[in-house]
């Protein structure tokens, strides 16, 4: 099938399957202040299901099904659920159930890439009567030794980074492959969103001040598609945190008798050259 026709078909499918698009712009945040560490340190995570550009509204999270660390040393997998602590997260307009996790330094002492993977409980978007489940990855590097951060983790859906998610300059380009069951997903619908405010982990809250003002609603959540090989390419115009989400790419399409959107999320940290 010609690429143009396949792209049109993918766009039509995406439009049909997302008539209202209320499920869009939801992002499972897996946040910590710093992902490129000189030396290992205790890591404090905020795990919040929200709209990161607007700083809310934030959705109630159920207890995550899995929260794993894939170690830099030999790829050993560690179950981190014992470190999850439920909190009430204060976002711009509401409070919602979220999680914090304090990961001890001992688990990330090795040099190289440490991959954190969150599998949340599906969230029922009542407005649309649709469940959303976002498999979320974050890569932390210790010392600057490159590692296994670009290795797929065998998730039902995931975004495989082609650049280091923790080492990006403002103005750079980031590339990744969208995968479902380990295979590239051509023409997947992609959302891109900037965390447009501070994240106060200790107070379980987003900052009240926006970093930038969107000139119009469509600038809050940017969108594109992966190419015919499943590769997505994005620019990084501003320092801070960027979330990439590939929407509704999973093979499992229903949960508890309702439609399920299995999305893949990857977080990318960007620095100014100064």
């Amino acid at each position: 099938m010609p690429i143009k026709r396949r792209l049109l078909q993918a766009l039509a499918t995406a439009t049909f399957s997302c008539m209202t698009c209320a499920a869009q712009a939801h992002f499972q945040m897996l946040y910590l202040d710093e992902t490129a560490l000189q030396r290992a340190a205790d890591l404090d995570f905020a795990i919040v299901f929200t709209h990161p550009f607007s700083g809310g509204p934030t959705m109630n999270m159920g207890e995550p099904r899995a929260f794993n660390l894939i170690s830099a040393q030999g790829g050993k997998k560690t179950d981190l659920r014992q470190y999850l602590k439920p909190v009430q997260w204060q976002s711009r307009d509401n409070q919602a159930a979220a999680y914090r996790a304090s990961i001890p330094r001992e688990l990330v002492r090795s040099l190289g890439d440490h991959i954190f993977v969150l599998e949340p409980e599906p969230y029922l978007e009542k407005e649309e009567d649709v469940y959303i489940q976002q498999f979320t990855k974050l890569v932390v590097n210790v010392g600057g030794v490159p590692g296994n951060g670009s290795e797929p983790q065998g998730l039902p859906v995931e975004i495989q980074p082609l650049n280091k998610p923790y080492a990006n300059w403002t103005g750079g380009v980031f590339r990744a492959v969208v995968l479902a069951d380990g295979k590239p997903v051509p023409f997947a619908e992609i959302e891109l969103e900037y965390v447009n405010h501070s994240v106060d982990i200790k107070d379980n809250a987003f900052g009240k001040q926006d970093s930038v003002k969107a000139p119009q609603a469509s600038f809050k959540s940017l969108s594109t598609y992966s190419d015919a090989q499943g590769v997505v390419t994005i620019g990084l115009p501003r320092a801070g945190w960027w979330g990439i989400a590939a929407l509704n790419i999973g093979a499992t399409k229903t949960y508890k008798g309702k439609p399920l959107s299995q999305d893949a999320v990857l977080w990318v940290q960007v620095r100014d050259m100064k």
């Binding site: 040393q73 030999g74 002492r109 090795s110 040099l111 210790v142 010392g143 600057g144 030794v145 490159p146």
Partner: protein
């Protein structure tokens, strides 16, 4: 003569290339207390190349060599901490050394 004139730019280009490769290859070294008084040190390079077989020296404050080891297949070297203050030096190659003081080695 023409061949000689050609050789110079090629040599220059090669030298620059090697220089660039060397610049992109910095040592990374860190140590932590793995358990009890056993210290594990990990070594590597920023381009991902292996440090296996490189020497590691443990020295006292007067630079007296207390222990000498090599980086193993898992890019690490483990030793029992000596009494008193000491330093651990990764001999990662010319201009590629790195040293850590015992006061900076924690769990």
């Amino acid at each position: 003569m023409k061949a000689q004139m050609f050789a110079h730019p090629i040599l220059l280009a090669s030298a620059l290339l090697f220089c660039q490769a060397a610049l992109a290859h910095g040592p990374v070294f860190d140590c932590y207390i793995e358990h009890d008084d056993w210290v594990k040190c990990e070594a590597g390079y920023t381009d991902g190349s292996s440090a296996v077989g490189r020497k590691i020296h443990v020295q006292d404050t007067s630079n007296k060599l207390l222990l000498e080891g090599t980086v193993g297949k898992d890019n690490s070297y483990t030793f029992q901490a000596p009494a008193g203050a000491y330093s651990v030096e990764f001999l990662g190659g010319e201009n590629h050394g790195a040293t850590i003081q015992s006061s900076d080695i924690t769990q």
